[in-house]
């Protein structure tokens, strides 16, 4: 199955800028469906970006983050051609990971 994570990381030698688009319903658990029943909460609880074995960005998410979240951040370091590992865990225990090369 295709990854739920799209990522683009570019380094200018000093700073690496990362953009990621994650496909996930991010149901808050507060919304009702057409029948009037609550759609159960289903959202990413933690999203982690790792470089060189260390976490460079960790997001602890909850109900307030909308569907298909987009993240953009920068971190010091990161060389072209190196790997950036991304992974998430949601409240149902599902996970997905992907690895991208820094451009």
């Amino acid at each position: 199955m295709a990854s739920t994570i799209r990522v683009r990381a570019t380094s200018n030698g000093d700073i690496t800028e990362v953009q990621a688009l994650v496909q996930h319903p991010m149901d808050s658990g507060f919304v009702k469906d057409a029948k009037g029943e609550i759609i159960p909460p289903h959202f990413i609880q933690q999203l982690t970006f790792e470089y060189d074995g260390k976490a460079v960005f960790v997001a602890d998410w909850g109900a307030a983050v909308s569907k298909d979240p987009y993240v953009k951040f920068s971190f010091k370091g990161g060389k072209k051609g190196d790997d950036l590992k991304i992974g998430w865990v949601d409240n149902k225990g599902a996970t997905d990971t992907t690895t991208a090369k820094i451009q």
């Binding site: 295709a2 799209r6 990621a20 298909d68």
Partner: protein
């Protein structure tokens, strides 16, 4: 009570005026080419700093801050998932072995700018969405909902293959085609719904201004970016979706997607934007 009297009075007055018909205005033979010129001129005069192709970006060309945010977002657009899905779907054969490409000229690639067109055999306007569902049904597949999901993914991919190509809508020299065009034009300017808005009320009279927290797009080029990922919808939507939701937003009961009025409206709006590039799929607030 007074409201009731006022309404019945007005209804009576209207009945009276219907009996004493006003002198007939000389039958306006539709002149689409003149309309399109006037239409485009109206908007380029109103926004002299914009190039014609800027109009396809809707509200983003109306507000600097929005434009900056949109440019950033376009690096990693929210419609990417739908676009990829659409590409896969388009390439996947039906159960009978045929593909979408078999239903369209040029295998369906780079043709979005030609839709809608007037079918002279059937005497009606055919939109891309309608053509796709007809393709499915002709090949033994169930039709998709017109407003989102699969239809949005497919039209996203087809629009993407036409990116940059200018709208090239044709109105054949056929009174039925002219009638469809004219009906579409009439729909665009007719006020409806309890809030008494026409499409023109927002998109001709107030582009760049706000309605609640949203900035209004100009009518010129308004279909060029379709289908769109709309933050308001947290998802993709087609032209059908936008027409129906707009109707209900002004408290009018929406017609069914792909009803004649909507197809004629799409025909008119696409034609008057001839020459402007397809920019779909798009993202909107």
């Amino acid at each position: 009570m007074i409201m009731r009297v006022a309404i019945s009075f007005v209804s009576a007055a209207l009945a009276l005026t219907a009996l004493a018909a006003p002198p007939a205005i000389a039958a306006d033979t539709p002149n689409p080419a003149a309309d399109a010129t006037a239409f485009q001129k109206f908007f380029t005069n109103k926004f002299p700093k914009l190039k014609p192709e800027d109009f396809v970006n809707g509200p983003y060309s109306m507000n600097e801050d929005l434009h900056r945010q949109w440019e950033e977002k376009e690096q990693f657009p929210p419609y990417e998932f739908a676009l990829e899905t659409g590409k896969e779907m388009f390439a996947t054969p039906f159960k009978n072995g045929k593909t979408y490409g078999d239903c369209f000229p040029d295998k369906g690639i780079g043709i979005r700018q030609n839709y809608p067109y007037f079918d002279d055999k059937e005497g009606k306007v055919i939109t891309l969405e309608l053509a796709l569902n007809r393709c499915r049904e002709a090949n033994g597949e169930p039709p998709f909902s017109y407003v989102k999901d699969e239809m949005a993914s497919l039209t996203a991919y087809m629009a993407f293959t036409s990116r940059g190509k200018p709208f090239d809508i044709k109105i054949p020299d056929d009174p039925r085609a002219l009638e469809a065009y004219q009906k579409g034009k009439e729909y665009f300017y007719t006020r409806r719904g309890q809030l008494n808005f026409s499409c023109a009320t927002c998109h001709v009279q107030a582009p760049g201004e706000r309605i609640r927290a949203e900035i209004l797009a100009p009518a010129l080029g308004i279909l060029n970016a379709m289908p769109i990922y709309r933050s308001e919808w947290s998802g993709m939507g087609t032209i059908s979706r936008r027409f129906t939701t707009c109707n209900s937003q002004i408290r009018g009961v929406p017609l069914s997607p792909q009803d004649e009025e909507y197809r004629d409206l799409e025909y008119y709006l696409s034609y008057v934007s001839n020459g402007l590039p397809i920019s779909g799929p798009g993202a909107r607030p």
